[in-house]
Amino acid sequence: MQYIDNIIFLILLVAGFGLFAKSLQNIYRNIKLGREINRTDRKAERWETMARVAMGQSKMTARPVAGVLHLFVYVGFVIINIELIEIIVDGIFGTHRFLSSVLGHGFYNFFTATLEVLALLVVIGVVIFFIRRNFYGVKRLTMKELFGWPKNDANWILIIEFALMMAFFTMNASDSILQMRGVFPEHGNFPISGITFVPFLEIFSFDNGFLSFVERGAWWFHFAGILFFMNYLYYSKHLHIILAFPSTWYANLEKKGKFNNLESVTKEIKLMMDPNADPYAAPAEGNEADAPSKFGAEDVFDLNQVQLLNAYACTECGRCTSVCPANITGKKLSPRLILMKTRDRLEEVGRNIDKNGKFEDDGKKLLNDYITKEELWACTTCNACTEACPVLLDPLSIIYDMRQFLVMEQSAAPQELNLMMTNVENNAAPWQYNQADRLNWAKEN
């Protein structure tokens, strides 16, 4: 009978991690639905970028208040999860505070005290974030586009993190009271719960039995909470705590102004410009495979894998939208929504595959059903959104690829742009001037 705890623990552990692995597998499969893109060059620079931006949070400093609070929650939460090692060992082997025997008395005291301080910082961060988000009225956090799940999701994340920290303090407090009473051997140093939770629990003069129950309860809650939270990630924007890393690694390292040239088009144009080319020649064998099935992007399958990864990595903070000139002036475009809608569509496609074994046409597309032309045509390609993103996501590339589809596959540009493009094609200028008049200014005064 004494092993029941350990067995339940193991089952929970395996189920928790197993489910999580399954979720990650789903995400991986969905991202793989996108076009391949070669982003494995300049590896040293990529590692450096990831270390600086994702681990070092370098872009979060642009908004210092949110930056510092985010650092609290990030560092705190990551380091506190080192505790998970101890929880797992204790849970499986039925030990109590296993790390104390590994780290030694002095260092274990330091370790637990540090965790307590970090946990306090997490609580401060989370509480202020909750207030900022719900009562303080930061515009990008209270926009209509977040109503419903995105807003609730954000609050759930904060509530769960708060609850986990509370369980952590409760566990430490009851443990340290039991230690003081000589029930448990003395391990660790708990300055924060010592000041806050211990006096509170002492008021009620609970007996040792009840405190042991509280300690175990909080321990189990903390453990189960972590497993739950881990599996919640899949459904949440909080996935960024994992996917920010690959997203920064695979980020576009080129100059922001550089848009990719389609190679398939180059071949065509070169053939067109070559006076010796036979216009009626059949394409060479095997060339069909080189050509993309279509120009630009109509659905998630036409986007590249980094763009799809970006959609999962977006944490919907809205820094992109808050600096977007189109959005600022009341237009429909919101770069954040471009990523959110891409993710929504991708998840829908994923569910379709789960259900049917492979993707069955559902009569929907990313274009029109999710992202409208009006949004796409409002973009000035100014790159404010990509500059603002703390994890180097690129909503502009999605907008651009979808514009390419509209123009090159559907000839569905706004009329004035068609006129401009015709002018460029015929007169080599976007306005209807004669190329022969290009140097007229030199003769004017």
Binding site: E254, K255, K256, G257, K258, F259, N261, L262, V265, T266, I269, K270, M272, M273, F295, V323, P325, A326, I328, T329, G330, K331, K332, E374, A378, T380, T381, C382, N383, A384, E387, Y400, R403, Q404, F405, V407, M408, A413, P414, E416, L417, L419, M420, M421, V424, E425, A428, A429, P430, W431, Y433, Q435, R438, L439, N440, W441, A442, K443, E444, N445
Partner: protein, 261 residues
């Protein structure tokens, strides 16, 4: 112009090549306002005796607006034609007063076979100044309030924030920065082919938002480094009926004025 603007063809006929090719761009060639920028730049180059040439009738649109609108075909048609011309003249160094031409020539032409050293006119003038060839005395602007609007395709797109500011500082003017400047600069509303179409529906136009911000500092001059920004900001100033009090000028025009050219 009271001096002769030479073309690449003329240089080639003489068996010579100039120090730099000045890529004028469509706005600089055809737009009445932008032509003044073109001329001001030529006057400065002429005064300090920089040997430069233009392509003239052999120049085409770089393809930037077509590409940003999503038309890769038209873009590459323009690009490959231009590259043929540029390569035929063995062009090494290009300077342009348009950040859109600058960006396209610099970043998008190389993978199509066009490899040149491409410089924005503010970068070029800064370099000439550092070499001691260009001397700027800012008398006419001493103490006047100037604010600079960063063009997206020079700034964020290519990371150049310094060159225009170095030149402006030489004018001894009082350079005031808008809150949204440098990496946080706000677009004038013309990029991404927006110049050629009506904006989508919204509360206001982007150039109005941007001009409002610039005007809030009560500057004498709004300085630009892009013919499209220039148009958008000029329209904005007119919208607020401030065109008697505030002028919108390209940096190169300010320099030419300071030199009384």
């Amino acid at each position: 112009m009271d001096f002769n603007i030479k073309t690449m063809a003329e240089y080639a006929a003489e068996g010579k090549s100039p120090e730099v090719l000045f890529w004028v761009g469509c706005a600089g060639s055809f737009d009445d306002r932008a032509k003044k920028i073109t001329k001001a730049f030529c006057k400065i180059l002429n005064k300090i005796e920089v040997e430069f040439a233009v392509l003239g009738q052999e120049e085409s649109c770089t393809g930037d607006p077509a590409k940003r609108a999503g038309n890769e075909f038209v873009f590459q048609m323009m690009a490959l034609t231009n590259i043929e011309v540029l390569n035929a003249y063995e062009v090494k160094k290009i300077v342009t007063a348009c950040p859109h031409c600058f960006n396209t020539l610099k970043n998008e032409y190389p993978s199509l076979g066009g490899n040149y050293e491409v410089i924005h006119h503010t970068q070029f003038l800064k370099k000439l100044m550092e070499e001691g060839r260009l001397k700027i005395e800012g008398g006419a602007f001493r103490g006047k309030k100037i604010t600079f609007h960063d063009p997206c395709y020079l700034g964020r797109a290519n990371g150049e924030y310094e060159a225009p500011r170095v030149l402006l500082e030489k004018l001894d003017a009082e350079l005031v920065e808008m809150k949204r400047c440098k990496t946080n600069g706000l677009c004038c509303g013309a990029g991404g082919a927006q110049m050629f179409k009506e904006p989508e529906k919204g509360n206001k136009d982007i150039n109005i938002e941007r001009t409002e911000e610039a005007l809030s500092f009560q500057p004498k001059v709004i300085a630009t480094g892009c013919p499209f920004c220039n148009t958008m900001m000029t329209d904005g100033v007119k919208h607020f009926n401030k065109n008697d009090e505030v002028v919108v000028k390209d940096i190169v025009e300010l320099l030419a004025e300071a030199e009384d050219l």
